[in-house]
């Protein structure tokens, strides 16, 4: 008698087996971080559907390579780095020049090369609704959204952010600054 077993069922068993290994505690922590992975993925991709896929695939990859994780080190940073690599891999697949487009310095294209900060109006931020801040943030290029997310939302240091994104710490500093400037500009535009 032939019994059809769905792919999902097989995969579920595989994952359950993985979760039951000695590394089960790490597996729990990995899964618990999935909402954070999703939010980071959304910041990078700008698309909730793709973000969900990225977060899920990151969890899967992490479960499959738990042995590569060194206990006592930063699990969150490790997962974010996996996610970032997956994101870049997808972009490379979509376009041979994707990395250039995404992670080269786009300041000139964004009109920020000569950005001289005018005195910033704190009132713009204070008056802005959270949904306006989020809307403006979602429109930022990944170039800026990634570093901003990791530092402002996740509270990671610039050094940790640099390791995750595989860019120099000075570049993190520059992109955080310019990302915030761009965010302020867009909030000010919405306030007009």
């Amino acid at each position: 008698m032939h019994t059809e077993v769905s792919d999902d069922h097989i995969y579920a068993e595989l994952v359950a087996d993985a979760a039951g290994l000695d590394e089960g505690a790490i597996a729990e922590q990995i899964a618990a971080l999935q909402p954070r992975l999703f939010r980071f993925a959304w910041s990078l991709s700008g698309d909730p559907e793709e973000a969900a896929d990225l977060a899920q695939e990151t969890v899967l990859r992490a479960l499959g390579s738990q042995w590569q994780f060194t206990p006592g080190t930063n699990l969150k940073a490790w997962l974010f780095r996996i996610l970032r690599n997956l994101y870049l891999s997808r972009r490379r697949s979509a376009s041979a020049h994707a990395e250039t487009v995404l992670f080269d310095d786009l300041d000139a294209n964004l009109g920020l090369a000569d950005c001289q900060a005018n005195p910033v109006e704190q009132a713009v931020i204070v008056k802005a609704r959270l949904e306006d801040v989020l809307a403006a943030f979602r429109r930022l290029p990944a170039l800026y959204a990634g570093p901003l997310h990791l530092t402002a939302v996740e509270g990671l240091t610039y050094a940790e952010t640099a390791r995750i994104l595989d860019i120099p710490i000075g570049t993190v500093m520059s992109r955080v600054y310019r990302g915030r400037r761009l965010l302020l500009t867009r909030l000010a535009e919405r306030a007009l």
């Binding site: 995969y11 994952v15 971080l33 559907e49 704190q122 931020i125 801040v133 939302v153």
Partner: protein
């Protein structure tokens, strides 16, 4: 003030507490330049608002189409693992346990650092958009504050240090969540640490930290009695 241009690219790092990355000349300049000091403060404020906005955004349930099996495997993995062992973590993040959420975010570094209770209160009001009470706690020194939006609640955390350098976090939940006309202190154990929930005249606060439990209880008693409130913010 002249020379601001060359220092501005470092203001975000300064606001984020990355002072080792900021040239000494910039630190000196900002100390004497009100414009740059204000812009650094604006970066702090924007960081807090950005964090609150991203965390306030409810996680959507994406539409499910036909996907390749690695993607489906990922989906299954996430579901299985989440059911198997991550319920607590997810619940603390998106669920309704505001006390656990407050206790969790309280351990993150302050987004605004100051030893002055008045300026901390002012920052908290601007970051959260709601009136806050200035609170002075006997024997404790203010260290800074942060604002988060978790578990459906606006959480403003003010961090203090004891003379021994131990940390006490007082996380104020959104006033709308505060039970009116009640007072009292409840204790809970969250991830092996005691956390106190205080219903005080100033609102509902969650007290956590590395200080001895006796110090946490003393802080709770002070807040419950309303003795720590110096003044009421604008209403």
């Amino acid at each position: 003030m002249s020379g601001c241009k060359e220092h501005r690219p470092f203001l975000a790092a300064l606001a984020d507490g990355e002072t080792e990355l900021v040239p000494a000349a910039t630190l000196t300049h900002v100390a004497d330049c009100p414009d740059c000091a204000e812009e650094a403060d604006t970066h702090r404020l924007l960081g807090a608002r950005l964090s609150a906005s991203v965390n306030a955004d409810r996680l959507p349930i994406p539409r499910r189409g036909r996907r390749s099996w690695p993607v489906r495997l990922g989906a299954v993995a996430a579901v299985v693992i989440a059911l198997a062992g991550a319920a607590a973590g997810w619940h603390a993040y998106t669920g309704e346990d505001r006390v656990a959420a407050a206790a969790a975010v309280a351990w993150d570094q302050p987004q605004y650092g100051s030893s002055d209770a008045s300026t901390i209160t002012s920052w908290c009001e601007r970051a959260s958009g709601r009136p806050m009470r200035e609170v002075a706690l006997p024997g404790l020194s203010p260290l800074g504050a942060r604002m988060d939006y978790r578990a459906g609640t606006d959480i403003v955390t003010v961090t203090y240090t004891t003379p021994q350098g131990e940390r006490i976090n007082v996380s104020w939940l959104d006033a709308s969540q505060a039970p009116s006309g009640r007072s009292g202190v409840q204790s809970r154990m969250i991830e092996g640490r005691m956390v106190l929930l205080v219903a005080s005249p100033g609102g509902t606060a969650v007290i956590s930290g590395s200080a001895p439990q006796s110090s946490l209880w003393a802080t709770a008693a002070t807040l419950e009695a309303g003795a720590g409130s110096i003044s009421t913010g604008a209403t």
